[in-house]
Subunit: 376 residues, 4 copies
């Protein structure tokens, strides 16, 4: 994976096989990526414009999530953003649809796409079962993408769901991260995972971020605020102005957790955002969603007058999960940048890729210095 290739080890826990959210068994990811120039401008001026956008689907596909709900929760670090379905996840505590990511202006279109997907698969929806509430989250790609073109449609949502697979996760400037910018570098979709040691029963935590936040000067990579050194090396005139962006974090785990525990796990992912350099800017949308693939519960069971029963892990394992989700969130944001090769956009804008070699060298030198000092 991107970070491992560059010898950036975040934290103390082992990564999963793919270092991605797909290391949580049953979780699949699919992207639709749109990179088009020469698109007729929507203002009928005859000029052309550029599209840099897309949709990403996270599909926790265990047979039938509509009828087998997964415990879910969330946390809002700063709420100037949108995640439909979050209210339900935090109150009701169950996930019943795929989770889709897209740009801010396309939340409605993607929402309609999920509805259509669910209606197609579940004839009882709208009949025996009233409704479902989809989970759609967003960040804005308006710096590189012409959002007035309305490029994302309900069909793209269906396509992203259809394309979802396990295993390796495509990252960087792809899917809902196509036109995004992190710490003034290109890249939006990143993922990472951690596997707890034996004392944590070997549970896995996977994270996928749609990252669109951060000022270069604050970029912190386990070991150093490298952004302070990178900041003077890159021109300012191509950076975003006062909008310091947003980030969506999706956390998956196979550890059995209650909804309230997932709310708290989501809160720790926010600490991971802080570690990598977020100060949760006042106009940002930094929102976390978390679900557990354990404790699947049928729709019928919850309406039963009889007792339900759920297992859940105790405080000692929860603490390990907290550390793990911080590490994985931090690394997922870095991966969003490390996987991207740079991205051009509308109005001749260009977001450069993070200078991987330089970062690698800075960190290696810092580490060498530290070890030498400690042994001296």
């Amino acid at each position: 994976d991107a970070c491992r290739k560059f010898d950036i080890g975040i934290g103390r826990f082992a990564q999963g096989k793919y270092n991605a959210i797909t290391d949580v068994e049953g979780v699949k990811v699919g992207h639709v990526t749109q990179v088009r120039d020469d698109v007729p401008a929507p203002d009928e001026s005859g000029k052309t414009t550029s599209v840099r956008t897309g949709v990403t689907a996270i599909v926790p596909e265990f047979g039938d999530i509509f009828n087998n709900h997964l415990p879910s929760g969330g946390f809002i670090l700063n709420g100037i953003g949108e995640m439909s379905g979050l209210t339900q996840a935090m109150e009701w505590g169950w996930l019943e649809t795929p989770i889709l990511l897209t740009n801010t202006m396309s939340v409605g279109a993607v929402h309609s796409g999920i509805i259509r997907h669910m209606i197609d698969r579940h004839p009882e929806l709208g009949r025996k079962v009233d409704v479902i509430i989809p989970v759609v989250a967003e960040t804005s790609d308006a710096f590189l993408n012409d959002v007035r073109v309305f490029s994302n449609t309900p069909e793209h949502a269906l396509e992203a769901i259809r394309k979802a697979v396990g295993g390796e996760v495509e990252q960087g400037s792809v899917g809902a991260g196509t036109g995004l910018i992190s710490f003034d570098f290109s890249g939006g979709i990143g993922s990472s995972s951690r596997r707890l040691p034996a004392e944590g029963s070997g549970y896995t935590v996977g994270v996928l971020v749609q990252s669109n936040f951060g000022r270069m000067r604050n970029l912190t990579v386990d070991g150093a605020v490298v952004g302070r050194e990178l900041d003077p090396l890159f021109p300012y005139d191509q950076r975003r102005g006062i909008s310091y962006g947003s980030v969506i974090v999706v956390v998956a785990t196979n550890a059995p957790l209650l909804s309230a525990q997932l709310n708290r796990l989501a809160k720790r992912a926010a600490l991971g955002l802080g570690r990598v350099g977020s100060y949760a800017a006042t106009t940002s949308g930094e929102i976390i969603f978390a679900f557990s693939t354990a404790n699947r519960t049928t729709r019928e069971a919850k309406e039963s007058p009889d007792l339900l029963s759920l297992d859940f892990v105790g405080d000692r394992v929860v603490n390990l999960l907290y550390e793990a989700v911080i590490e994985a969130t931090e690394e997922a944001v870095l991966n969003a940048m490390f996987y991207s090769a740079g991205m051009s956009g509308r109005k001749g804008r260009y977001a450069p890729p993070i200078p991987r070699e330089l970062v690698r060298e800075i960190l290696a030198a810092a580490k060498a210095g530290r070890v030498k000092a400690e042994n001296g």
Copy 2:
């Protein structure tokens, strides 16, 4: 208005001129109502089905809300529902779009409609200004309406916004309330208003509800749990089963309030729902949005490094606003029923209108009894 016609006076404050949310100056309401039978069933069976749905727009139209934000806030009584934009309203504290209501499955379509409305009116959106986050809320009309038909489109959202006017508000089985059911009676859209007395500086509070909740036996009308007496008079087999529905409340006021005060005002609207008979059922979405038409603030001002300044009312007036919003919420829910003449729906279902005369008689007799006892 409906309730006044039937001598049901809720509370102690005076109603505004229209007894509606439009009594708050500058607030307009528009509906698109869809009542169609003989609609081809979406399952290609050759059968027909019925559509009972719509869209309602609340437009706080002071020139240009996109560039002149209104303080806003909200409260979630029970969160198994959706209100896009609520997170932003509670965190950021500002409203920048119209507020639209529709059915659960149409949130995406209506969301797309608002985006299009804003893009059309504001060429700088997606260019100089990144994005807006629309406010769309929902309840489910799946009991009477065939939601698989996807009747509400982005165009319906645009139409509802276009139709928005001040003055009298059409209520009952109209707009987003067309297919809704309240306390086992027909009717979904209701509105009411209160005007504070001189000690409250004459401020107005207006409420509009999209009501879809309640079991008949719990219906309480200022003076009595009339539902207990109505309940045995109506057959059970035509009522909804375990789904006790949801309700969206939109509160408007011209009193100058801060966002945090509006969050708290929204919480009192929840007490009004409780007074009329809600127990906030475990799977309901009972969500309140509140905004103030005072304290309009320009987009630019908020980004300024200089000081902003806002006026707001002190505790004594806030307490009066609390009482007023409880009264108006209670009466708005009653109006949703009193304005409806009954509604048929899919599969031969029928929601009867509330028996207005009987309710009137029960309340009058109760009142007469009380007065007699007190004077005896």
Copy 3:
């Protein structure tokens, strides 16, 4: 019990044997009541002053709550008040001490008393186990009581815990309710319970309130705003001014619930406060604590790396519990008044008892009228 004696039946569920929180098996209540005149004034003026205060303990005594925690939760309707330990109950989800009620200025003294009680009983506290966080809540009795006397001490807390018993609960102007006023009538401690029908598995919900809120004109009994009729009958000059008071609600149940479910149950108790006439005044402290006597879990279990498991009731039973807690809260507030015989206080003040006979007549006459109208 007080309400039943006066034929005031709130709601549709049956009361428990004692119509009190003690109907939840294992829950005990104890009071220390202080009514003293001729107390030397603390200002050394040589004058005398009056004390009307006390402490109430709710002791969920199943052997050893310190080592066997009970699931707990809470809700803040309005937060201008104090309940120590609430944060822990809502985050951690467990109760590990008795719950004590007193006046605002005595929270510290009673807090110290609980600490001493726990230290005395548990030699491992402060050694093997670090600390405990007591639950102490308050309302202000400063209208009738001279709070400058500091009448409540740690010893009174210990005494209230020691006196705690099951069975009948003393109510009205006793314990922490001695100097309190509800809807401008005397009385502070009230209790009530509901037993679910067979479809709700016979679970019990018990409520105890420390009531100190409400304006007479808003008093509502079972839907009827009797306060409107009582209000002109009582002089205004002996009522409290702008302080509309506070209320603490403690909810107990033997239904197995998770902490998150108890948070939501607590929220419904707030709807019960609204039904009896609260508008959650801007400076009030209206805070609810809830716990379940099922799902006792040992201190050790929670630290285990192994799985814990809890049973909990599904949505259908939860909805019945919601209705039941609203009914019991409403009736507990009424009991706080109905059990009191009036209370004098400092500076010659006097809070009259609620006119029970008149209320009974008003309600009976109203009911007779309603029934006649319905049958007519």
Copy 4:
């Protein structure tokens, strides 16, 4: 100051004159420190035990805070702790008493002390004005201190308030931090401040922490996880076991902010805790209180029916405040350790001081390496 002495510069903003919360004009700090051995054990065994505890007072002393309230807010990162008055600060939004810190078991005693302080100074309290709700927060010093001795009394609270002064703040193992441990090193009270640059109007943010959290391996200084290198150098058998502790953060600023903005500022302090190595352990109490010395408002004004008016800074300055509070929180935690010279305690326990020289060398070497890599 401690950190500056060791060349540890956290972040990009300048420190205030004292690098302490007292850089916010009018804010004073006072400590009472108790370090005693040969204390008779409370179990009457005839043995002796050790006391390592105390009280710290933060006094925002502008004439009369009782009658001139300061806007306040807060945030709970993890809630297994106690801060009385927090509920009021977040709901009501005003501070009206000093803020006191102590150990968990002494919250009640210190609470009583503040009450007495307020009663003594304000004869109208309990008469014309009902009550006040003190702010008392805690962490547990039970590892080094014998909490069964009950060393902190109401008088100690009064003494700490009396001793409060501006200027230099005593830090490390003093006051409420006497017996505390941070990242397995001694030290509990730390403070730091930041002054915004001209674009931020020169506002000051000051932080004082009562730090009792962290595992050595997670200690992170300005991005560098130095704890990973320190961890193997110190023995494990003298460290705390499963209790990873708690931390209280008090934030003061002279920037005019609304209560809701202070809630959000408090949330960013939590990100600062994350940056220094907190993962918000499941049983920790990590609670933040924030107040602004601007926008003082009289008690009377708030009850007025007329309009109040408050100034507050816009988004651009708020973002600078966010960065500043993260920096100051991080540095305050470091100062808590850097100022301490180590602390012995009960049962022969000993918490070593952080090895300042080694940390300095590690950071200097790392920095030299980074700079070399960047220039190479």
